[in-house]
Symmetry: C2
Subunit: 286 residues, 2 copies
Amino acid sequence: MKIAIVGLGVIGGSFAKAIRHHDNKHYIMAIDTNVETLKLAENQGFIDYGETVNKTVLQQADLVIFALYPEVMKEYVRTHKNEFKDGAIITDTTGVKRTVIASMRDVIPSQVDFIFGHPMAGREKRGFEYADASVFEGANYVITPTDANNPRNIEWFKGFLANLGFKRVTITDPDTHDEMIAHTSQLTHAIAVALINSDDRSHETIRFIGDSYRDLTRIANMNEKLWPELFMNNKDHLVTYMERFEEAFHELKIAIQEDDVEKMEAIFKESTARRIKLQESDLRIR
Amino acid sequence: MKIAIVGLGVIGGSFAKAIRHHDNKHYIMAIDTNVETLKLAENQGFIDYGETVNKTVLQQADLVIFALYPEVMKEYVRTHKNEFKDGAIITDTTGVKRTVIASMRDVIPSQVDFIFGHPMAGREKRGFEYADASVFEGANYVITPTDANNPRNIEWFKGFLANLGFKRVTITDPDTHDEMIAHTSQLTHAIAVALINSDDRSHETIRFIGDSYRDLTRIANMNEKLWPELFMNNKDHLVTYMERFEEAFHELKIAIQEDDVEKMEAIFKESTARRIKLQESDLRIR
């Protein structure tokens, strides 16, 4: 099979590495505007061939994986619509699904099967040099089929992802996806940002941190060009979950202010039970 | 040197393991109410001798490390005040300093030098079986001396901690310690609890989580008997930092609600710069 990856950043690069590592029968091509990245990926053996502008790649690819910002992907598909191979499977990796699917509807060429998906794995760093096949090991993947998809292609894609190391591939609708990631991904990023920004810059914080602060601020390293778009495209669910979090946080604050030990104990027992339940069913938790 | 560890849970146990691993010339004793824990630690070679109730341990110990809840430690020191060796160094590991130091003042026996300190390292699990010397590697330690301390003992203790793997040993006053950990430790725990408790229990959240959710909820596994005491004993600083966090979080929410891309970009640039600065000066960040 011939696979094309469009956008060889941290996510596209991780796909290249995971495919090479787990499923080495495929011919891997890439398109990226940065020729140095292409050369590096080719020299390291993660891709077989690269182009900075599509000349021959899309025409050959049986599977095209887009790892571009949502708006850039749309323009790219529109511009190159006649270059995709007949019967090709195309997929995206964007973090919101309702608006992306709605916005892509008019530009998807009729000769391809566009399967929308989202790897629940990533890195806080940008660029191919941080790409790493291991971030997919044991991770979640969500696929949000449309009426236009061929069910056999969905089944094939699920198997392809399982081969790359993903543990749970979930099929759901775009709204459920967007609601769930508002809590698990977008809210967590909003929290990390607010936590690190609420520090007093004059403090020698580095001398007082433990692993909890390291863990909770890791994702405060945000790509400021990508995330506003993702947040705005999921504003309804995100704001709902931000407000649910604000309520839970406020409830704890009141219990502390009022020395309400019984209330605090109940809150901590609940959070402990939930976390233990999460850990019991998840491979990737240390 | 003869060292006694009182309370062989996750923190006391980690001390036993770190001392054995890094500084194996010492004779290590322990006092713990659980005889099985003592047997296990002795069989695994991490302690040389243990007692469930002090008979001979405190009388011999040149250094006593308390790894007990604050209130339990106070009662313990009061009860056993005549059993400590002349000239012994005693230290605690509790996470708040102002109230603990004030409360201990009346019970510290005159023949010992009590150095108050706090390892900025721990595990979300309880018990000796989760004790691990590696959690101290590259970690921070804070010492809050009192007027009663012998400066030579403080210097010696700093060196002892450096030998166990701690990277930065900071000397500061109790109020600065309490203010800083309100942000770096207590606020992070409050956030983790509110995050996991704000989820809808009917959701199949496990299928939608990535590493950000795993990292941000790890410490939601809280010892509900310990933390209310720590929070209440630092209420002023903790509530101040909870409110600073609420403000920063609210500011981001408003920017999202108003599609204010410029504001979001500024917030994310700030958080990214702060996180990169933190990472550049910290060993333990992945």
